[in-house]
Amino acid sequence: MLLELLLLLISASILVSGVLAVWLDNLLPAMVSAGLASLFAAASYVLLAAPDVAMAEAAIGAGLSTLIFLYAIRKTRTGED
């Protein structure tokens, strides 16, 4: 029961951060929000007893891809402003 509540909470957090990632006008917070969605997804994988997938999601989804997007945002700003 507690596990299900926690899972629902995490799923809601994934939804909220995903919607925020689309809605936010400023690219930097939007990207951080997308990374957060990945991190919450990783947490939900741990709860669903898939630690292997969770580890890959946390390292690649929340870490590497967020950073690559942040680099890209930074690059395009300095390049075109």
Binding site: D52, A54, A56, A59, G63, L67, A72
Partner: protein, 230 residues
């Protein structure tokens, strides 16, 4: 016109997901396939972590394909972004104000060794606990990423990484061919003794292949990150 099309597409997706959810029944027992793997992996391969056992031995060829895809990604990113490879990254139009804060620099000094150690742990214990070559390699690469954020003037030795990565790939495929010669087929992990279930040195060639995978994935992702930086 476009709106109605969007609405139609949305309704189609909604219908598909609704049928999926309506047809969902929670299993109270494992499926026959899962049951088979849960029994066969510890008995046959000697790997405590069933997922890594499946990924590296039964689905070894798929894993090789994934690594090949990653290699192609790294190579194409290198081709696309190689124009600025000669110049130092901190000279590419970045002023001092955009540098990392004190918090990031000091934090990286404390956390960085732990990240690399954790990555190595995840890679080497892939047959015992959660993780394996892919995950550990990604963890190592995220450590490299933190290093590049905290010290933007760090230069990554692409030649060394390429040689390491290619060498790991060659040994990986050689191990696979040895599997054809000495055991049941390509990438069969029985070419080395199975050992005792749960011991650090066990599960045949799985830890070796996992380590090679970790080196390969870590090197490739590090090169990709560095290409994006410079």
């Amino acid at each position: 016109m476009k709106r109605t099309f969007d609405l139609l597409a949305l309704m189609l997706f909604g219908f598909i997901f609704a049928t999926v959810i309506a047809g969902y029944v929670e299993r109270d027992s494992l499926s026959a396939l899962a049951q088979y793997y849960l029994e066969a992996v510890p008995r046959d391969l000697g790997a405590q972590n069933v997922v890594t056992g499946i990924l590296i031995t039964y689905r070894g060829f798929d894993t090789l394909g994934e690594v090949a895809v990653l290699f192609m990604v790294a190579a194409s990113v290198g081709i696309l972004l190689a124009s600025g490879a000669g110049e130092r990254p901190d000279e590419v139009g970045r002023d001092a104000a955009a540098g990392p804060s004190e918090l990031v620099i000091s934090g990286a000094e404390v956390i960085l060794p732990m990240i690399f150690l954790f990555g190595a742990y995840v890679i080497l214990n892939g047959h015992l606990s959660a993780g394996g070559g892919f995950q550990g390699g990604a963890v190592v690469a995220s450590g490299v990423m933190l290093l590049l954020i905290a010290r933007p003037s760090t230069l990554v030795n692409h030649g060394f990484l390429s040689v390491t990565e290619s060498l790991a790939g060659v040994v990986y495929v050689t191990l696979g061919i040895l599997g054809i010669v000495f055991a049941g087929g390509f990438l069969d992990s029985h070419i080395m003794p199975r050992g005792e279930l749960g011991a650090f040195i066990s599960a045949g060639a799985i830890p070796v292949i996992s380590a090679l995978l970790g080196i390969k994935v870590g090197a490739e992702l590090s090169v990709v990150i560095d290409r994006f930086r410079s």
